[in-house]
Symmetry: C2
Subunit: 232 residues, 2 copies
DNA sequence: ATCTTTGTGTGTTATAAAACATAATTATGT
DNA sequence: ACATAATTATGTTTTATAACACACAAAGAT
């Protein structure tokens, strides 16, 4: 398993990033790539630590979050395979401002950021890849600021459900979200208490917008949910 | 005035960015740099428009903001001379997600993004400059999400005052904020209604943390304000 | 299997902040 | 200089959401 997952990613260009590199560069990546396994809920790195590696999610699901006042947690971003994270703080030359944890058992790879920077200096496409990613994430964060501060509770939860849908998609039935979050995590995505996440979710069930079976959420009326998310 | 301001910026390396370029590159910048003047409150660009230029604030003050539900505006970031903005959307290959407007009469310069990208491809330092800026801004936005959603009204306003202090500094008296915002803008920075910004500001005056004279805000107890901003 | 912990669901109360209302002041245009 | 509009200020009411309380179910531990 150790190297095969990586070879697969690189050779099949599952991740955009690798297709930008030449053979020699790919060689150096493979030589320095380290595989790590994380259990469900295990912290990958924590706020205030110093960044040293770029992280690559190979299998599983990861949340990036910030712990705020009174132990309240805000989920900032969700990661899916094959995505990269943990490089922002290094580029900014500052400690992490958010933490990362596995939402389920996950396999990740690391690469020293010094190597990434070295490759980047030689290969403009790699630099451009990060500029593009950072720019998209920044736009997303700015949008999230307004979503979380100005929308009402129903709008924020509907928004969270749509984020899950867009990030992880549906199961084979084309309607069950392919992620099973605790109500608490749902609340932490939507800036509300767990009680209110549960209550609001029950409301959506009563309105036949979704069907809930434990942590399985089946989206019945996506159009309506998007509408609520927009004007809520 | 037309070119002199630019020559001054470039020659004196007032902006970090120019020191990264060689003579030939500086030449091309100067040839393509366009000066624009904006009146107070004039919109520089608006959400959903397509980005074409990078903007350089030479003189004045600029706010970046998003209009949210019910006409409520959220100020995302403040710009001071000599800072660059407006490039994120271009790099992300998407329309602007926020608008920019002059907070006071301002002088700005534009440079076509295609030129910036061309220079960037040749000059790694320029690419690294943008990666650094984007990374810092992204960290700032992620932090702002938690600040605005989890802090109470006093904490949010104190935070806004400290942001103003850190961005624009003090007048010669070493205590009066070097920016004169309408209460409405103060509210739009702090995610609250104008009424509450006024009320909370009056509270700070009563507690002798600040002195207010119209739009002039004199910081009396910065330590206490930082404390309120942190735990509020 | 039983105990303990953790997560889910709902009703009730408390409260922070918005919404609304109305003056008083300050700017702005003619 | 005056009229009109915009901004600042403050009091009152309403409301969205947090906080609290408790029951029940599910999952782990001994």
């Amino acid at each position: 398993m150790i190297k095969s997952a990586l070879e697969k990613i690189i050779s099949e260009d599952l991740a955009e990033i690798w297709s930008l590199l030449n053979g020699e560069e790919k060689r150096r990546i493979i030589d320095n790539f380290q595989i790590h396994n994380f259990k469900k809920n295990q912290v990958i790195y924590a706020e205030k630590e110093d960044p040293e590696f770029i992280w690559c999610l190979i299998k599983g699901k990861v949340k990036k979050y910030k712990d705020g006042v009174g132990g309240r947690q805000q989920i900032i971003r969700l990661i899916r395979p094959v995505q990269y994270f943990g490089y922002r703080a290094y580029f900014a030359k500052e400690p992490y401002v958010s933490s990362a944890a596995a939402l389920e058992a996950s396999t990740l790879g690391t690469l020293p950021m010094v190597l990434v920077e070295e490759l980047m200096e030689k290969n403009y496409k790699l630099a451009r890849f990060f500029i593009h990613e950072l720019s998209r994430n920044l736009g997303g964060s700015d949008t999230k600021i307004v979503n979380l501060t100005q929308k009402h509770i129903r709008g924020r939860l509907a928004e969270a459900l749509m984020v899950l849908r867009d990030n992880y998609g549906y199961e084979d039935d084309n309607s069950t979200l392919k992620i099973y979050l605790a109500r608490e995590d749902l609340a932490n995505m939507s800036n509300m208490t767990t009680s209110n996440a549960i209550r609001t979710l029950s409301g959506f069930v009563a309105e036949k917008l979704i069907i809930v079976d434990g942590r399985r959420i089946k989206i019945i009326n996506e159009t309506m949910l998007r509408k609520i998310s927009k004007h809520g």
